[in-house]
Structure formats: structure tokens, C-alpha cells
């Protein structure tokens, strides 16, 4: 009997042993984490790519943003967003040359410029994180660059290599990475786009594809490339085909961060791929953190890079930053934490509960829990509920550099085109579709109705009275007020429709909205759209389809009205205004202009504007472009979402920066306070278990009595 019970007893001891430690029973982290400066966060999906040449999504940037260091970065505190050096020594100023190679002034017109050259000087004190690809033996040869399959028999992950090495960052690593943009097999999403700008990049891609056909190995160091050159050990140049001032923003993205050639040699050896050991899985960078555990099925761990060159917290910020404590660490050496521990959380409810228990340091707010976390004051300002305030939780909000819009296909016969009839119809719909109501119903008020394509906070956007869209809003009581529906009906009447019917034929006006989901969850939203169109008597037919078919419709231009969005790559109006540039038309040019809007004057202004530096002249052109767009209304401008984030009292320097991805180094944690709060909030409650046990025992007693009675009863 004792032997049989032993495993059960051991199990109980093992389970409740946790109760004897200082850690709460429901602590999901190892006990040895207690008291350490570890940042805890979550991710919901495995990052697809961690190779900086392929990675292009937010969830991947969460990791590689802390590992790789491109030449530039965004200032953590200053707004509007400002570029500052990261691995470069300064923000490069382009040099322009004409066809004959003569140097031009910085304000040269785009058509004069035949070549733009960016010369980038990099810091001389940067070294890579420890990595086996860089390990050398006593003779100076690379230890792991000539591995045989037999050498890998005990290797399952990068940790299994006993040696790691490092080396200095040099300019050649940046040039090497630019070549990797077009390396076959890496599939950089930026390859095609950058080939339009970087000299010879398209040609390089072609040559690289032909190398294996010629029986030649693909060694990027050996291949000629006119688009980028190493000037000296710490300087390199990038040659562009034309004037493109926005290129400096791309220099802050991971596509342009350095990669050592040794990494490619190391990872391309036989047997590595079969073991899932690749640069896409095990990055090698120079940043403040390195990925020490990549197990996206469970957790991903970033630890401090012992070779990090060091960087100080900014000493300048915006007015009010000092009062909010964002400058308390000014001038101190970063990073402030030793580890970042990201746990896989596929569902929002467990994630939210873990945040409330203190196991995540920050959190977004899911719709289901919004009312639990946030309430609005009489003035319409968001504030935390008493429950959140009592826990010492903080709230930060920021307008995302994003626009979500309802677009008209300008190739469509009914809603598209340049006719006054269609324009008036689109403007009538712009008034009728009430995005303030949308935000209130579907987004808990987390967003602001858009007045045009450029989100607030991005250079070029006008604020206040001069920033409103006069075709849709009036300025009243110090804020924009949507025009009454009667004005929309009047516009519709001028467009040739009365109460939703064609005045001449009497035919009802039926419009079609193409959406990517028709499930039960979206029924309310789609009904809301129907209701908006119904205000004008227009019948709206929903054409729901899957995302693949939807994209196909957009490519072919067969959709009529659709909803879509855009998240800025960089904080420049060009990155929004190009979405309506004629040369970017989706159907004709496979570009990002999904509405296929084509306006000659707008296009001319766009070409001028994109090549200009910031200043009053550029602002005047932007104003005119926005005015053209508002008048033509190829989009119903929709809204700019607002990010609401919560953070615990032990988490510091929480100021949101929606352009920067390398913000982990700025964050601070007070581990003692966190541990105390976790213990306070997570005391195990045992009395319900005792009660349950009693109920079970009590319910068994009558059964036992019945059993005995039955056993003793005489046979009838």
C-alpha cells in the first residue's frame, strides 16, 4: 500500500514545494528570477524571420530591434520624431551629382540629380555579441567554418558550440548586408523597392541568380557592386540613382544593419539547416541585447550583450518629460535591465490576467477588459478606473502613425473617376459615414477621426482649425464637428440621386463593399456600414471573401469600395501621400495606391514634395496636395488608431515611441517592488479547496450508508 501511494505523495510534495518558497504558487517564472532586473512581456505568434534582411513586421521588430544596430535611430523622447546616429557617428547628408558628375547643391531639383551619394561613418568602438561564427582558435583560424556532418552530431542549438568569439564592426559589414537584400533565397521584401533607388541593386540580384548556373559559388564579398562601396575601415558609401531624401529613414531600419560575412559562412554549412540553425533563428548583432534562447513555442529570452559599446540615456526631451520622470535617468549608461523574458501567450484573456497578477510589466488593453481598465471623464479624457489606480498601474496614450480608411476604387464606373457626379457622391458618403460613432462603438474611443491622409504628429499634418477637412467638418466650439446629414443628402442630390435613387431612371443606387471577413464576429460592424449608407437611402451590399481573394480583387481592380489601412514606415508625409500617387496605382503598376487614384496636379506636386527638405515651401505643397485629396475624396479618411498601454509602478521610462523599435534599452525595472507586489497580489486561497473536500466527504457518507444497507438487506 505504501509503495503504491509513494508516487502520489511525491507528486503532492513536488507541487506544493512551491508554496514553501518566497515565490507565489502561480508564478509562471523560475524562482531564481526573483529580485533580478528582468523585463517580462509576451508575444502571440512565432516571429517568422529574425534575419534583418527578411524581417518586416512589428512582432519580429520586438526582438531584432534590440539585437541589430542600423546606422540611425529615432530619438527616444523628442517629437516630432527625430533621427539621431546609432552605429553611425552622425546623420549623413546626401551629396548630389548631375549626369556629368558635377556636384550639385543640396536643394537641387530632382530632375537635375543623376546620382545621390550617402557617405556613412561608423563608430570605431563597436563589437559583435559573442557568437560561434566568430570564434577563432589559437592560430587565428575560424573554429567553426569548415564543419563536417560528423562534427554536428551532438549539436542541437547554438548553445551546443563550446566556443564563441567576437570581432570589431567594420564598414564592410554594412555593404555586405546591402548586397544580401538581393541574395537569392533570402527573399527580402524590400529588394524590389530598393532596386528602384540603389544603383546596380537589381543587376546584382540578376548576377547572383546566375552564379549557380555558371557553377560559381555565391560569395557576396567577391561580387562587384556599384551601389555601395567601402571607403575605409569605418566608412562606406551608398549610391542612389536619384534624389531620395527619405532614404535616411530607411537607414534606421534593420534592412540596413550590419551582418558579418562569417555568419553566412557559418550557417550555410551542411547539416545546419536540418538542425534549424540559421541566421533567421539565431541573430548576431551589436546591440545592447542578444537572443540567448529562441524557443518561440514557449519563450524567447534576450540577455545583455557583454560586448555592447555602451550608450547614454538622452539628456533632452520634450516639455513635460522631466515632470513625468522621463529624464530621471538622463546621462546614465544603458541598458538598465539584464534580461527580457518574452512568454508565448496566444490568447488575450490569460495575458491580461497575468498582467493584473504582476507577471507582465506592461500590457495593451483588450476590448473585453477595456471598461475594467479605463473610464472617460466628463471632458472625454481617458483615465484609469479605481481598481487600476489602486494597483498603481499607469496609462499612456499616443496616436499611432497609422490610417485606417474606406477606399473607393477610382476605376469603378459608379464611385470612381474624375467626374463631378462621382466626386459629389464620394463626398456625400464621407459625411454620412460617421467615424466618431465607429470609434465609440467598435474601438472604445481609441482613435481620432482622420481629417486627411497624414496622422497627427507626423510632419505635414495641420492641427486645430486649419487642420480640419472642410468638406466633411465644420469648426465649432473649438473642435471639428461633422456636417449634418442634410448636407450629404444635398450633395447626393447634386450628384443625381434623390433618396438613394437615380433621378433620371428611378433605379436604386446599390453599392458594394468588399471585406475580408463575413463571420459572425463582423456582423455588427457590417450592419453598421449598411446603416451609414442607408442614411442616404443607398443600399450597401457586402461582398465578403477571404484575404487572398480580396487581394486578388484589389490587384485586378474589381472591388468597388473596400477598407484598408497603412502603418508608416517612417515619419514623413511622403510615406502616406505616396499611397495616392498615380505611378503607384495597384492595377497599372502593382503599387500601393489601392484606390488607383490618378490626378495629374497631385502627381506633379508629389514628385516635387518628395525631393524637398522640410520647410515652409514643402509644407505649402503638402497643404495643396491634401486639399486636392479632400476635394476628390478617393478615400473616406477613416481614423488614426490610438495606442493605449498600461504599465506597472515598477516599470520606468514608459514613454511610448511608435517609430522606434529599439526601446528596450531605455526601460527600467524595480525588481524589489515587483516581487513585493506579486506576493501581495497572489496569496493562495485555500479555503474553497477545504470546502470542496468537505462537500465530497459529506456526499459520500449517504452513499456508504446506502451501500451498507443494501449489503445487509435480505433478498426479496
Amino acid at each position: 500500500m505504501k509503495t503504491k501511494a509513494l508516487p502520489l505523495i511525491l507528486l503532492c510534495v513536488a507541487v506544493f514545494a512551491g508554496g514553501c518558497s518566497d515565490s507565489p504558487w502561480n508564478n509562471p517564472y523560475p524562482d531564481e528570477h526573483a529580485g533580478k532586473r528582468i523585463y517580462y512581456d509576451s508575444f502571440s505568434e512565432r516571429p517568422k524571420h529574425l534575419d534583418p534582411v527578411s524581417s518586416y513586421s512589428e512582432d519580429e521588430a520586438l526582438f531584432i530591434g534590440q539585437i541589430y544596430e542600423p546606422p540611425l535611430q529615432y530619438h527616444f523622447l523628442k517629437r516630432p520624431y527625430e533621427l539621431i546616429p546609432l552605429s553611425a557617428t552622425e546623420v549623413p547628408e546626401p551629396e548630389y551629382y548631375d549626369e556629368d558628375g558635377h556636384r550639385l547643391h543640396g536643394d537641387a531639383a530632382e530632375e537635375e540629380v543623376a546620382r545621390a551619394v550617402y557617405t556613412i561613418h561608423i563608430r570605431q568602438d563597436i563589437r559583435y555579441q559573442p557568437h560561434p561564427a566568430l570564434a577563432r582558435d589559437e592560430s587565428g583560424a575560424y573554429r567553426y567554418h569548415d564543419l563536417q556532418s560528423s562534427d554536428l552530431k551532438d549539436i542541437r542549438s547554438l548553445k551546443d558550440f563550446p566556443h564563441a568569439g567576437t570581432r570589431e564592426l567594420v564598414a564592410a559589414d554594412f555593404v555586405y548586408q546591402i548586397k544580401r537584400l538581393v541574395k537569392p533565397g533570402l527573399h527580402s521584401p524590400l529588394a524590389g523597392f530598393m532596386s528602384k533607388y540603389i544603383v546596380d541593386l537589381g543587376g546584382l540580384g540578376q548576377r547572383l541568380r546566375e552564379q549557380p548556373e555558371r557553377g560559381l559559388p555565391v560569395d557576396l564579398r567577391e561580387i562587384e557592386f556599384a551601389g555601395a562601396e567601402v571607403v575605409d575601415r569605418y566608412t562606406y558609401r551608398v549610391h542612389l540613382k536619384r534624389k531620395y531624401p527619405q532614404f535616411k529613414y530607411w537607414l534606421s531600419m534593420y534592412f540596413f544593419s550590419p551582418v558579418p560575412w562569417e555568419a553566412d559562412v557559418f550557417y550555410s554549412q551542411p547539416g545546419m539547416k536540418e538542425r534549424n540553425i540559421s541566421l533567421d533563428w539565431y541573430p548576431v548583432g551589436t546591440g545592447p541585447f542578444m537572443l540567448t534562447e529562441n524557443n518561440p513555442n514557449r519563450h524567447m529570452i534576450l540577455e545583455r550583450n557583454p560586448n555592447f559599446h555602451g550608450e547614454d540615456y538622452p539628456v533632452e526631451g520634450m516639455p513635460g518629460d522631466r515632470e513625468k520622470g522621463f529624464l530621471d535617468d538622463a546621462g546614465k549608461s544603458m541598458p538598465f535591465i539584464d534580461m527580457a523574458y518574452y512568454s508565448l501567450e496566444k490568447e488575450a484573456i490569460p495575458e491580461w490576467n497575468k498582467f493584473l497578477q504582476g507577471y507582465f510589466d506592461t500590457s495593451g488593453i483588450i476590448s473585453d477588459s477595456f471598461d475594467q481598465a479605463v473610464q472617460f471623464t466628463a471632458a472625454g479624457e481617458p483615465e484609469l478606473t479605481t481598481e487600476m489606480q489602486n494597483k498603481g498601474i499607469g496609462l499612456l496614450t499616443a496616436v499611432r502613425p497609422t490610417i485606417v480608411y474606406l477606399g473607393f476604387n477610382m476605376l469603378d464606373d459608379v464611385v470612381g473617376g474624375d467626374s463631378e457626379r462621382a466626386r459629389l457622391l464620394r463626398r456625400a458618403l464621407s459625411i454620412a459615414i460617421d467615424y466618431e460613432e465607429f470609434l465609440s462603438i467598435f474601438a472604445n474611443g481609441r482613435g481620432i477621426a482622420a481629417q486627411g491622409p497624414i496622422p497627427s504628429g507626423i510632419y505635414g499634418a495641420r492641427e486645430g482649425r486649419e487642420g480640419i477637412n472642410p468638406y466633411v467638418y465644420d469648426w465649432a466650439d473649438g473642435k471639428p464637428r461633422r456636417k449634418p446629414i442634410s448636407e450629404a443628402r444635398e450633395l447626393l442630390h447634386k450628384a443625381g440621386y434623390r433618396d438613394g435613387r437615380n433621378i433620371e431612371t428611378g433605379e436604386p443606387l446599390v453599392l458594394y463593399l468588399d471585406v475580408t471577413s463575413g463571420g459572425a464576429g463582423s456582423k455588427t460592424l457590417l450592419n453598421w456600414y449598411r446603416k451609414q449608407f442607408d442614411k442616404l437611402g443607398i443600399q450597401l451590399v457586402i461582398r465578403a471573401t477571404d484575404y487572398n481573394r480580396f487581394r486578388e480583387k484589389m490587384r485586378k481592380g474589381t472591388a468597388q469600395i473596400y477598407t484598408w489601412g497603412w502603418n508608416a514606415d517612417y515619419p514623413d508625409p511622403e510615406n502616406f501621400l505616396f499611397l495616392l500617387y498615380g505611378e503607384n496605382g495597384k492595377v497599372k503598376h502593382q503599387g500601393e495606391n489601392t484606390s488607383n487614384y490618378d490626378n495629374e496636379r497631385y502627381d506633379d506636386l508629389f514628385v516635387k514634395m518628395r525631393a524637398m527638405d522640410r520647410g515652409p515651401d514643402r509644407q505649402a505643397i503638402i497643404d495643396e496636395m491634401v486639399e486636392i485629396l479632400r476635394r476628390d475624396a478617393p478615400w473616406v479618411w477613416g481614423y488614426h488608431p490610438q495606442a493605449y498601454s498600461l504599465y506597472h509602478q515598477w516599470y520606468g521610462n514608459a514613454k511610448p515611441n511608435l517609430m522606434a523599435r529599439n526601446t528596450l534599452k531605455y526601460k527600467t525595472i524595480d525588481p524589489e517592488l515587483r516581487q513585493a507586489k506579486r506576493l501581495e497580489w497572489n496569496q493562495p486561497v485555500l479555503w474553497p479547496l477545504v470546502l470542496l473536500g468537505l462537500i465530497i466527504v459529506l456526499s459520500i457518507i449517504p452513499a456508504v450508508i446506502t451501500y451498507r444497507h443494501k449489503q445487509r438487506a435480505a433478498v426479496k
Binding site: 509562471p28 505568434e45 527573399h187 524590389g192 539547416k273 490569460p350 485555500l686 446506502t706
Partner: protein
């Protein structure tokens, strides 16, 4: 019996080919290789050249079933279907569309699935059989009536409710175990308690009802009456005779699902963030990773066929009257 097993294995081959064809057809009806490329490369700035390169790299630039540009057997061999399907029969799953080795991922992720499925099955069997025996023993009493009512109520509740309710009660209110997560070794226990508990409780209703029916059927048989006539104790009748005979349909029902325990639970793994094969499959469907979907469907089919074969074999072991003949 060996001839019977060989025959069943041979039967499995056309079934697996059929499963492969259907999976392949359904997947490519919904997703063209272009769609898959776009999903992997993203929406922004992607050119047709990049899409073509992606397809060529993975062999998705060839015809689906029939290559009219080739001659002879190559017309069939040089297709996406052939290239993707034949290797599966050697359990060579190849690489996922994102470049990971699928076999390696499966070997890694089957353990968390088993860590939940095996204890859930064993504890569930123990509890369900015990509860079923109890209500059968007290048949036609208030215990039987209320036991059945509770079972029906438990069967009527959605599995999702047990998960969310369990997380809310056990983890959020009582703070007894972590809400979600996973670890290895002894640390795994605290993460497994709640999903196993939820899995067991959610299965009590249907399991007990099913086993109760089996036991009631046994109780009505002649050998039970004979045992009673001999004056045997009720406890001995139930535990030595009824349970033993009732286990035949129970065991054969369990054996068929044994191999499928590897495949994991789709919902539980997702809600508890368990890195098993269930969530692996769901993720692959969401990412439109055909290579993984195809491999998991194939693996599931093989395991199901193995389960059915084991069931047949188990019949011969637990019931001497059954013989397998070719």
C-alpha cells in the same frame, strides 16, 4: 494474424494517397502558390519578381498535378503534388514554407502534447470509470438520477467554458497555479495541473454516461445473476467481474485514440500556451504553411490507421473469442 496485419497495412496505402490528394486539392483551391508567396513576403513593396523567386525556390512554380512540358513519367513526377507527397511515405516531411525542418519540429513538440494528453487520459479514465461504477451500483436511486443529471449538464457545457472558468477560478481567484505557460522537467508540473484538470473535468460528463451504459448492460447479464446467486459480495461482483468485462469496449475505445495523443489538443494547447502539435497545426493553418499542414494531416491519418489496427489487435487480446484472419 500477421497476414491480416499486412493486408491492413497495404489497405492503408491507397487511403493515405487519397488523404494526400484531398488535402492537396483543398489547400490549393483556397491558396494559390502566389497567395502563399504574398503571405510570406508581406503586402508591402513586394514585386512579382520577388513572388516568382519565392515560388521557384520552393518548387511552387511547377504545375500542380500534371506537367505537360515534360515527357513520360516526368509529366507526373515534375509536379508540386508528386514532389510534396512521395517523400511523406518515407516520413521525410521536408521543410516548412518558412524554412524550418518539420520533422525536427514535430519531434520537439510532441512531448508537450503527450505531457497533457497522457495524464488527462489516464486520470480521466480512472475518474470516469469510478464514477460510472458508482452510479451503476446505485442505479435507480437518487445518486443515479442526480449523477446522470450532472453528467448531462456537464456534457452540455462548451469546452471553452471549462478552460476560461478554470483559469478564472483556479488561477485568477485562488492563485494556485499559473494561468498559462509551459516548462520542462519538474517545473512542468505546475503548468500541467490546470490543463489536465480542465481536460478531465470536461470529459467526465460524456465519459461517465458512456461507461455507465456499458456497466448497466453487463449488470443485466446472466453471469452477474449467477455470481449473486452464489452469494458473492457486490463489491467483488462489480470490481472483479463487471469491471473486467466492461473494460473490453472501454479499452478498445481507448486504444484507437492512443496514437492520436501525439497530435495534441487544438484548443487547450492554444489557451494554455502549451507548445504542442495541436498549436503547431493551428499556427500552420493561420500562416497558410502548406508543407506543415500536409505533414500534420498525413501524420494524423497514419496514426489513426495505426489506432484502428491496434484496436483490432486488442480485441484478440481481451476477448479470446475474436480471431483475426486474412
Amino acid at each position: 494474424m500477421i497476414a491480416y496485419i499486412i493486408r491492413r497495412i497495404l489497405y492503408a496505402i491507397p487511403i493515405l494517397i487519397g488523404v494526400n490528394v484531398i488535402t492537396f486539392f483543398l489547400f490549393f483551391v483556397v491558396n494559390s502558390p502566389d497567395d502563399m508567396a504574398r503571405l510570406h513576403l508581406g503586402d508591402r513593396y513586394v514585386t512579382q519578381q520577388a513572388i516568382d523567386n519565392w515560388k521557384a525556390q520552393r518548387g511552387y512554380d511547377r504545375p500542380l498535378f500534371w506537367n505537360s512540358e515534360q515527357r513520360g513519367l516526368e509529366q507526373f513526377r515534375d509536379t508540386i503534388f508528386f514532389d510534396n507527397s512521395v517523400k511523406l511515405f518515407a516520413f521525410n516531411f521536408g521543410q516548412s514554407d518558412s524554412g524550418r525542418d518539420i520533422g525536427s519540429d514535430i519531434r520537439q513538440r510532441m512531448w508537450p502534447s503527450l505531457a497533457i494528453a497522457v495524464p488527462t487520459l489516464l486520470v480521466g479514465l480512472l475518474i470516469n470509470i469510478s464514477f460510472a461504477l458508482l452510479v451503476a451500483f446505485f442505479r435507480a436511486t437518487y445518486i443515479d438520477v442526480w449523477g446522470v443529471v450532472i453528467c448531462v449538464v456537464m456534457m452540455s457545457i462548451s469546452g471553452l467554458f471549462y478552460i476560461i472558468g478554470g483559469q478564472f477560478l483556479i488561477s485568477k481567484l485562488l492563485h494556485l497555479v499559473p494561468i498559462s505557460g509551459y516548462d520542462t522537467g519538474q517545473e512542468a508540473i505546475k503548468f500541467l495541473i490546470l490543463p489536465v484538470l480542465v481536460g478531465v473535468i470536461s470529459g467526465i460528463g460524456s465519459g461517465t454516461r458512456w461507461y455507465r451504459t456499458i456497466f448497466l448492460e453487463e449488470i443485466g447479464k446472466d453471469y452477474v445473476r449467477t455470481a449473486r446467486a452464489k452469494g458473492l459480495n457486490e463489491r467483488i461482483i462489480y470490481y472483479r467481474h463487471v469491471l473486467k468485462n466492461g473494460l473490453i469496449p472501454i479499452l478498445t475505445g481507448v486504444v484507437v485514440i492512443l496514437p492520436l495523443l501525439f497530435m495534441g489538443s487544438l484548443i487547450i494547447e492554444s489557451f494554455f500556451s502549451i507548445p504542442g502539435l495541436g498549436s503547431y497545426t493551428i499556427d500552420a493553418i493561420n500562416r497558410q504553411d502548406f508543407a506543415i499542414v500536409r505533414s500534420m494531416v498525413f501524420l494524423g491519418s497514419v496514426l489513426y490507421i495505426v489506432g484502428l489496427l491496434l484496436t483490432d489487435i486488442s480485441y484478440t487480446l481481451v476477448d479470446p473469442r475474436v480471431r483475426l484472419e486474412s
